[in-house]
């Protein structure tokens, strides 16, 4: 709890703008929120229970969470954004696709 409050107090960068790794810093109105990026979707032939868990059960995180955003009115890439649910502070933005992550990392 205290850690979270410290986060709020030290917060200087907020949401509203997302640094797309392809397009640069853009207004959040160009993006569409996807969902929880930490979900590992089961195989298509997995059981009903596994799918139920993946689709309906969500942590209600107070603090940083990984989420997907779609740069809908931009490059149309799906991005993994680490965002604080209290302050909108964004810690990191990277492509969702692991191969693209590698390419982006090596080009830095």
């Amino acid at each position: 709890m205290k850690e979270v409050q410290d986060q709020i107090r030290s917060c200087t960068v907020n949401m509203i703008r997302i640094k797309c790794p392809y397009c640069g810093e853009r207004d959040h109105s160009e993006f569409a929120y996807g969902g929880d990026a930490s979900i590992k979707y089961p195989a298509l032939d997995a059981s009903k229970d596994e799918w139920t868990k993946a689709i309906f059960f969500r942590e209600n995180i107070r603090g940083f969470q990984k989420e997907t955003w779609h740069h809908l009115n931009g490059c149309r890439m799906w991005l993994e954004v680490e965002r604080c649910t209290l302050t909108h502070e964004i810690k990191s933005v990277k492509p969702c696709h692991p191969e693209l992550q590698k390419i982006m990392a090596s080009s830095k």
């Binding site: 917060c11 200087t12 990026a37 298509l44 009903k48």
Partner: protein
């Protein structure tokens, strides 16, 4: 009381005379006047009637906190109610009227409410509209509702024109290093310091001229102040209110562009809504003077002390002749001296026993220490003021002073609203009797009297410190700085919130705008509404358009006293945006009318119009609705179009369908995982109808996919879901199935498409292509696909699919050739006496066939519900396959797709009709009708929809269609949804 214009005072431009109208009479004022100052200069004292009691009200302040002078400005469609006369600049030809009064503010029949006031105390609505106590008699009956309407009408403010807004508004964005709110001493000092340091500065001022409180100082020249700042490179935005402070130093501003000019320039927006991103925000929003609650403290002639100073030195208006100033602090003495010098008789009542005065006070000013205002005598104007001894409790009248004006100062409240928008709680300062801004780690700095500094020199110092603070937080080289201590009066302020009247039925107002009295606060306390949030909602204290700028602290102090607590323990409500009211038009900006959302047209749009189409919106698209001949109505046209398609041939623009190119070595695997039905073995040059589910097993969309080559498909989606399906495919490939080598591209705009349907469609297509033999039934069977050329060598793709149930083709062509294709097809169609058909006929044709669209696939329907269970493969896994049979999605009791006929074939029904059992017509019934049409082939009205148990259960039972919205009821027969040619012989022909 008499207020008048003085010759040698003020900063108005007397060269420029404006005539204006107030309540249908003409008056004169000057350039630089506010409406309020012009009214006072013409000695107009009663400018409004109060909210509940219809008491006469006059001008009470000179700024945004105004509670008396709420007027209606403009006429006809530019009528703007609840405008604060104090902030409305005067212009030539301004038309203003009083409001909440009949026939006018001087003589108002509504004043009867004042005499019935004991019935209208706090909580009146809550108690009364529940019915007559104790058993809430009458509650909910029509006569009671009528009574409620009449009562609600008696209270209120101005009335809207109810006409469309004729003005334009726009949105704009900007950014800067430091944004400074307020151009008082601290704001100007901060701006100069920042500009000196070569920072990009925006200075925002809600007033038309710069200076804030300094405007009322004779030696302050607002023009040279402006010029100096401009020369330093400061960007000045006057007539602009910072109404809200948001995340990440984003500030919302409202710039008023034509509200102060009479002749509206049609090329200019009325107001501009700014979103500004600053690296740092300095708030020098000043402080607001409070009043004191005592009996009849709302009679015209009551005003805050500082306002009177502004009227004198800014507008050259002396607001009274015989003035009593009542105070509990030092801020009034300079004003007393000024008013006395201007020729008024001045008496000062200071609630404090001993005061050591700094200013040279003329002997002519009578000062009575230790006395407080007790009661104003007079109803339409002030006749005299009864005073009480400050130390006596309970208070009682000890003397009466004849006067025509009572100026009040009950202390000052810093305008901490913007910081409050950020969720920063204010802290109570017992020394200065005000809430001071709390600490924040965000890049926001409060300066000047907004942080509780009263002394002008200290305000300037705090402004400079504010800029240095901003620079430190922005990471620029560190400088040492300090903020002066808050306060700055020589003698300390003494608490004075209410002078309690010792007779019953007192009218000691706390919140003028909503007629909330001190007794209302006590009533709320007696009835248990003691939390500030409850107090606010029960009494409506602070809920009027000034949002408690004047009365909140008095209300809090009264509640604190009743609870035997201190003000900080009682707390304060949170201020939320906007600081002052914003017109809805400014929020909407340009997004109105046709610009409300983007407009999409097909490449055949003009062609359709030229051929007589009436258009309808389908999603964002404009699509042909019907093609009337001569004076045909919609139903005549679509019935004719439907009939011709079934008998001969018709053509329809279907470009708006979503089209997605799916390419890559894993394209087949990808598409096979998406659709419920098998696609793995779809041959090249074949197309297949497919259904997609969501993860949770509900139907998402349907469409066709054509296999163009080994690794290439073209997928069509419904018009409405095109965007969503595209995003979904991208998500699957980028997030979930990252090992698949597939690329998806939206090609919806690149291809135009026309559906050609009807028994003669093959002959039409054959006439239009270079090689007619390719269109033979054997070469291009049902669900077949070819790439070929139209006449003239235009490459096209022809797919043999049918939404209408007839022999049919869809011809796809590069968008640039859409008109060529349309002309080619239309010329041949006419030879068969064919027609063009629109969305209405398209709907009729598909309802007859029982084909589902978005009306049926509404996000609640499973593949079984839609009667398409044969499309769900049992041999493969696909999106939604694990979940589509879960729990209630698999229940026996689900609604299933059926067709409906009226039992009486002359009857009609509408989409949305609720389907019920005969003796149980209520609630949600057992089903619903989703799509309806007249069927020319069957000769009567038909519909499709859903019913629990489906056709098998109700085939032989008459059901009832209940349409309470249109007050209709009809008998229904349940039939198969496939009402015409269920075997599909026509489309296979």
């Amino acid at each position: 009381m008499k207020s008048k214009r003085l010759d040698n005072y003020g900063k108005i431009n007397r060269e420029k005379i404006f005539s204006f109208s107030w309540d249908n009479k003409n008056y004169y004022g000057f350039d630089g006047d506010s409406l309020a100052s012009a009214l006072l200069a013409n000695n107009i004292q009663i400018v409004g009637r109060s909210f509940k009691y219809h008491r006469p009200r006059g001008i009470m302040s000179c700024g945004v906190e105004e509670s008396g002078g709420l007027v209606t400005v403009g006429s006809h469609d530019r009528k703007d109610p609840n405008v604060r006369a104090t902030t409305q600049e005067l212009y030539q030809g301004l038309v203003a009227t009083g409001q909440n009064a009949f026939p006018n503010v001087n003589f108002d029949l509504g004043e009867v409410n004042n005499y019935l006031s004991r019935f209208f105390a706090a909580g009146f609505y809550y108690k009364t509209f529940m019915g007559i106590p104790p058993f809430e008699w009458g509650s909910g009956t029509s006569i009671w509702m009528l009574f409620e309407k009449i009562i609600r009408k008696a209270a209120g403010m101005g009335k809207l024109s109810r006409l469309p807004d004729p003005d334009n508004y726009e949105h704009a964005n900007d950014f800067c290093d430091i944004l400074i709110v307020g151009s008082g001493p601290s704001g100007i000092a901060a701006a100069k310091e920042a500009a000196d340091k070569k920072l990009d500065v925006i200075l925002v001022e809600q007033d038309s001229i710069l200076g804030g409180d300094q405007i009322a100082e004779t030696d302050f020249d607002f023009k040279s102040a402006r010029d100096e700042l401009k020369n330093l490179g400061v960007r000045i935005m006057n007539r602009t209110t910072a109404f809200g402070l948001y995340d990440n130093c984003v500030l919302g501003l409202l710039e008023r562009i034509t509200d102060h000019v009479g002749e509206k320039n049609e090329n200019l927006p009325r107001q501009r809504f700014w979103t500004i991103r600053a690296k740092h925000i300095i708030v020098g929003s000043g402080a607001l003077e409070r009043h004191v609650s005592f009996n009849n403290n709302d009679i015209p002639g009551v005003m805050t002390v500082n306002a009177s100073k502004h009227y004198l030195n800014r507008y050259g208006v002396l607001t009274g002749q015989d003035i009593v100033i009542t105070t509990n602090n030092d801020s009034v003495y300079q004003t007393a001296q000024l008013l006395f010098q201007a020729g008024a008789k001045v008496t000062v009542l200071d609630s404090r026993k001993e005061v050591n005065l700094e200013e040279n006070i003329s002997d002519g000013i009578q000062i009575r220490f230790g006395s407080v205002p007790y009661n104003i005598k007079g109803s339409r104007r002030i006749n005299s003021l009864e005073i009480a001894d400050a130390s006596h409790s309970p208070y009682k009248n000890i003397d009466t002073i004849n006067c025509d004006q009572v100026l009040i100062s009950g202390g000052w409240s810093p305008a901490i609203h913007l910081l409050s928008h950020r969720g920063v709680r204010a802290s109570w300062n017992a020394e200065n009797l005000c809430f001071l801004p709390g600490d924040t780690k965000e890049n926001i700095t409060m300066v000047g009297s907004a942080r509780g500094i009263w002394n002008k020199d200290d305000c300037i110092k705090s402004g400079i410190a504010g800029t240095l603070d901003a620079m430190n937080k922005m990471g620029l080289p560190k400088t040492n700085y300090f903020f002066p201590k808050e306060g700055g009066w020589k003698n300390s302020i003494k608490p004075l919130y209410e002078v309690k009247y010792n007779k019953s039925r007192s009218k000691s107002f706390v919140d003028y705008q909503h007629d909330v009295t001190a007794d209302d606060v006590r009533l709320a306390h007696r009835e248990g509404f003691i939390s500030v949030e409850h107090l606010k909602r029960y009494t409506t204290l602070g809920m009027a358009n000034d949002q408690g700028k004047m009365g909140n602290i008095i209300g809090l102090s009264l509640m604190a006293e009743l609870l035997n607590k201190e003000i900080p323990e009682v707390g304060t409500t949170v201020f939320r945006p906007p600081y002052t009211p914003i017109s809805i038009g400014a929020l909407a900006g340009r997004n109105v009318g046709k610009h409300f959302r983007p407009l999409r047209v097909t490449p055949m749009h003009q062609w359709n119009l030229d051929n007589g189409a009436i258009m309808i919106e389908a999603g964002l698209y404009q699509r042909p609705w019907y093609f009337p001949k001569k004076n045909e109505t919609l139903s005549e046209a679509y019935i004719r179009e439907t009939t011709i398609v079934r008998q001969s041939v018709g053509m329809c623009d279907v470009t708006s369908l979503g089209k997605i190119a799916i390419q890559g070595p894993d394209a087949t695997e990808f598409i096979n995982r998406l659709y419920t039905n098998p696609f793995a073995k779809l041959p090249i040059n074949k197309t297949r109808y497919g259904i997609m589910l969501r993860d949770d097993g509900i139907v998402m969309d349907d469409g066709t996919s054509w296999r163009l080559s080994e690794n290439e498909y073209l997928m069509t989606t419904s018009t409405a879901q095109a965007g969503k399906v595209m995003s979904w495919l991208e998500e699957l490939l980028q997030v979930r199935w990252t090992d698949l080598k597939v690329n998806v591209t939206s090609i919806s705009e690149q291809w135009a498409a026309a559906a050609v349907s009807g028994p003669k469609s093959r002959e039409v297509i054959q006439k239009c292509v270079e090689d007619p033999s390719l269109i033979e039934n054997e070469k291009l069977p049902f669900m077949g696909f070819i790439s070929t050329n139209l006449k003239g060598g235009i490459p096209c793709r022809i797919v043999r699919i049918s939404f209408s149930g007839e022999l049919g083709y869809e011809v796809y062509i590069v968008s640039d050739y859409a008109n060529t294709m349309a002309n080619l097809l239309w010329e041949e169609i006419q030879k068969f006496d064919g027609c063009l058909y629109g969305l209405e006929a398209l709907g009729a044709l598909r309802v007859e066939k029982g084909h589902v669209t978005g009306a049926e696939l509404d996000g609640r329907v499973t593949i079984e519900d839609a009667g398409l269970e044969k499309m769900a493969s049992t041999k493969k896994s696909y999106i939604g396959s694990a979940m589509r049979k879960r729990g209630i999605l698999d229940s026996e009791d689900r609604e299933q797709l059926v067709g409906f006929f009226p039992v009486n074939k002359n009857e009609t029904f509408d989409a949305g009709t609720i389907v019920c059992e005969k003796n149980n017509i209520k609630g949600f019934g057992i089903g619903r009708i989703t799509s309806v049409t007249h069927s020319p082939e069957l000769g009567h009205w038909i519909g499709i929809g859903f019913v629990k148990g489906g056709k098998a259960k109700w085939e032989n039972t008459t059901l009832i269609g209940s349409d309470p919205v249109r007050n209709k009821q009809m008998e229904l027969q349940v039939v198969s949804p496939h009402m015409i040619d269920p075997e599909g012989t026509r489309m296979h022909a």
